[in-house]
């Protein structure tokens, strides 16, 4: 199956070039050149992944990210300028899964896309954590009969932690196992996503019972009851 990828960038040449690179790697690119049309194209094309430039005329990339997130849990990879630290954090908080710094090369871009489109392993089993049940076949998280909506990345993050309860995962381990980074990457990815995950699954996100912080080391899945 060919994955459809929405490329949102205001630079015509770059958009076309990214399209060429994606096509060469076997993806089917669709395009939007500004923030306003991006959401429409998203609704019309229903892509499997969104490549989103943060600096967009009209509606900013952050806003587009929020709009798409409101519609779907589809993986969103931001394109940012290096050093725009605030933009990176704002984008992640708006729901982006990962980011690539411009100017990037093709291999880097494809690696990020592959990691985000990689399905969760077939061997993954249904796990229980506290009052939550995670079913990797359907990407469903249930608290009793009540279903919680997580993005695939959030699901993967929670599943990774929950599969080995009580084991402490460092941020670097999570970057490798959840995001698929082979080398050192930005640990803020983990921090921001843990916050987002907690806000969805914890009854009191300020006082987490499921995803616990282990100071100075990382995170572990605790049990809500017991």
């Amino acid at each position: 199956m060919t994955h459809r990828i929405l490329v949102v960038d205001d630079d015509d040449a770059l958009r076309e070039m990214v399209g060429l690179v994606l096509s060469a790697s076997g993806y089917a690119p669709v395009f939007a050149s500004d923030g306003l049309s991006a959401v429409d194209v998203f609704k019309a094309q229903n892509p499997d992944l969104v490549l989103l430039d943060i600096m967009l005329p009209g509606q900013s990339g952050i806003e587009v990210c929020k709009s798409i997130r409101a519609l779907s849990g589809v993986p969103i990879v931001m394109l940012t300028a290096k050093g725009d630290t605030d933009d990176v954090v704002a984008g992640l908080e708006a729901g982006a899964d990962d980011y690539v710094v411009k100017p990037h090369n093709g291999a880097e871009l494809i690696a990020r896309i592959r990691a985000r489109l990689r399905p969760i392993s077939d061997e993954a089993i249904t796990v229980q954590i506290g009052s939550l049940t995670l079913d990797p076949k359907t990407f469903e998280v249930k608290r009793g009969s009540h279903q919680l909506s997580l993005t695939p990345l959030e699901f993967k993050l929670l599943h990774t932690l929950a599969a080995k309860p009580q084991q402490v995962f460092s941020r670097e381990m999570l970057l490798e196992q959840v995001w698929g980074y082979q080398y050192k990457a930005d640990t803020r990815l983990v921090n921001v996503h843990v916050q987002r995950l907690r806000s969805k699954i914890e009854e009191d996100p300020e006082n987490p019972k499921i995803v616990m912080t282990v100071r100075g080391h990382g995170y572990r899945a605790g049990s809500e009851i017991q």
Binding site: D11, A13, L14, M17, V18, L20, V21, A24, A81, K82, G83, T85, K102, P103, H104, N105, G106, A107, L109, K184
Partner: protein, 513 residues
């Protein structure tokens, strides 16, 4: 005290004025006192001479009128002369002596009559001689009299007087000048008090005048200090139209032009930094496209004919170089803009050094260079931005490999209580003094003639310097031509600590000779 005079212009000015004023007052006072004394004396003298003349006349008249026949009558007459001329007490007492000139036959029973309290020392012999040699005239001399246990000035006037039968006599009148002396002392006291008062007045006046002049100067000095510390909008108050006001207005003009200049330069420099940052930023999007396009061409070069294929290779190399340059430019422009936010965390510096070595290993292998890590057994922990320090070490290593001529490169890690240090040393061509001075300059290259293949941007060490400064650390270099080069990075163990000395020596052990 001396230092006060050296420091305080006011103290110096007041002291000088008081000393000069004191000398003037003393001179004027002495002159006044002298001329007063003189005029008192002259007045009294003429009075005294008149009185004496009258007294002598009356004595001569008395003697002439009496018909002296025997010594007893003479003695009686003479005895009556003294009391008749004497003035006892009062403000101007007069004493009298009638002395017989020496060198005459002795008179029987005769006594020279003198005033009761008269001390004959007030009639000096020299005067008597002069009197005897000046018949018919008055001769006088100033003398010192004892009066109530103190010496007062006086005048002794004498004249020869001939008395029938008895022979030659000398009549002396001794006048006291105690009244004049008292008056003079009174005036002198008044002069002294007035002089002291005048001196105090001079001191006060000079103090106030000096303050008035010095205070604005001190204010100007203070303002200049503040301006030099960066308070460019500091100004002096401009009041009046005198020289002080001129000083203030000139000072303010200077400060204003300085401020304008600095602000202009500041704005220019901000604009320039902004420009570099904007240009670099704007270059990113086209750079991304070019990079992607270049890669596509490069990865498909086997499908191209040889000239096109080679072009694709060259294109790819130069795009990579351009990319590195752009990213370094961006980094340095962020430093220039003060937009760097370091992420300090406690890390094992040894591990960071190992990571840097590992990442540069392919280049080292390519250049047949062996990398050695010398480090303590235990971990060496410090609060650092590990990403930046690793980049810094990678840069030092890449330089060492490039200039090391294939000889071994050593990375030494050390620590003391406050600091950690990492020393990267090569044994290659080294640098001379001129080259050393410029080694951290932007876009400066050690040897422009030599072919570069590692592909540094010329910004590496400039960024490294900024990175170390961000950690409040030191990045120092030692080099000797044909011996080698050593860069030593010293970082405080906690980000707020100040380093006093480095745990590792520079030049490193074994390289100095």
């Amino acid at each position: 005290m001396i230092s006060l005079f050296r420091r305080s212009l006011t103290a110096r000015a007041v002291l000088t004025t008081v000393v000069l004023g004191g000398i003037s007052v003393a001179i004027i006072g002495s002159f006044l006192s002298y001329s007063l004394a003189n005029s008192f004396y002259q007045n009294r003298l003429s009075q005294v001479l008149t009185e004496t003349e009258r007294a002598v006349d009356s004595v001569q008249t008395t003697i002439a009128a009496s018909s002296l026949t025997d010594e007893t009558a003479l003695q009686t007459l003479l005895n009556s002369v003294v009391p008749s001329l004497e003035i006892v007490g009062g403000s101007a007492p007069r004493q009298v002596a009638l002395l017989r000139s020496p060198g005459q036959g002795q008179l029987q029973l005769f006594q020279s009559p003198i005033s009761q309290n008269l001390d004959l020392r007030s009639i000096p012999d020299q005067l008597r001689q002069e009197v005897r040699n000046a018949p018919g005239r008055l001769t006088y001399t100033p003398v010192s009299l004892s009066e109530e246990q103190s010496d007062v000035p006086g005048i002794t006037v004498g004249t020869p007087i001939a008395i029938p039968i008895a022979g030659d006599f000398e009549l002396y009148l001794v006048y006291s000048l105690s009244a004049e002396q008292r008056a003079l002392e009174l005036v002198q006291n008044a002069l002294a008090i007035g002089g002291l008062f005048l001196l105090a007045l001079i001191a006060a006046a000079s103090f106030f005048v000096t303050r008035r002049v010095v205070a604005p100067v001190e204010e100007a000095a203070e303002a200049a200090r503040e301006i030099s510390e960066g308070k460019l909008d500091k100004r002096l108050p401009e009041t009046g139209q005198d020289i002080i006001a001129t000083l203030a207005s000139s000072f303010n003009k200077m400060a204003k032009s300085l401020q304008t200049q600095i602000e202009r330069l500041d704005a220019l420099s901000r604009m320039q930094r902004r420009f570099v940052s904007d240009v670099s930023h704007e270059l990113r999007t086209p750079m991304t496209t070019i990079k992607l396009a270049g890669e596509v061409l490069f990865s498909n070069r086997s499908k191209l004919e040889p000239a096109l294929s080679r072009s694709a290779e060259l294109l790819q190399d130069q795009i990579e170089r351009f990319d590195r340059l752009l990213s370094d430019l961006l980094e340095i422009s962020r430093y220039d803009a003060g937009a760097i936010v370091p992420e300090f965390e406690v890390h094992d510096v040894k591990a960071v050094a190992s990571a840097a070595i590992k990442s540069i290993e392919p280049l080292a292998k390519d250049r047949n260079t062996t990398l050695h890590l010398i480090a303590p057994e235990a971990s060496v922990r410090a609060e650092i931005d590990a990403r930046r320090i690793e980049r810094l070490l990678r840069n030092l290593l890449s330089n060492a490999i490039e200039h090391g001529g294939g000889k071994d490169v050593t990375v030494e890690v050390g620590e003391n209580l406050q600091a950690v240090a990492i020393c990267v040393t090569d044994r290659g061509v080294g640098m001379n003094r001129n080259e050393l001075e410029r080694v951290f300059d932007r876009f400066w290259r050690a040897d422009p003639a030599r072919q570069r293949s590692v592909g540094g941007t010329g910004l590496g060490l400039a960024i490294s310097k900024e990175d170390s400064a961000l950690h409040r650390g030191w990045l120092q270099v030692w080099s000797k031509p044909k011996v080698g080069t050593s860069f030593r990075l010293t970082l405080p163990k906690t980000k707020d600590e100040v380093i006093a000395n480095s745990p590792l020596p520079l030049p490193p052990r074994g390289l100095e000779s």
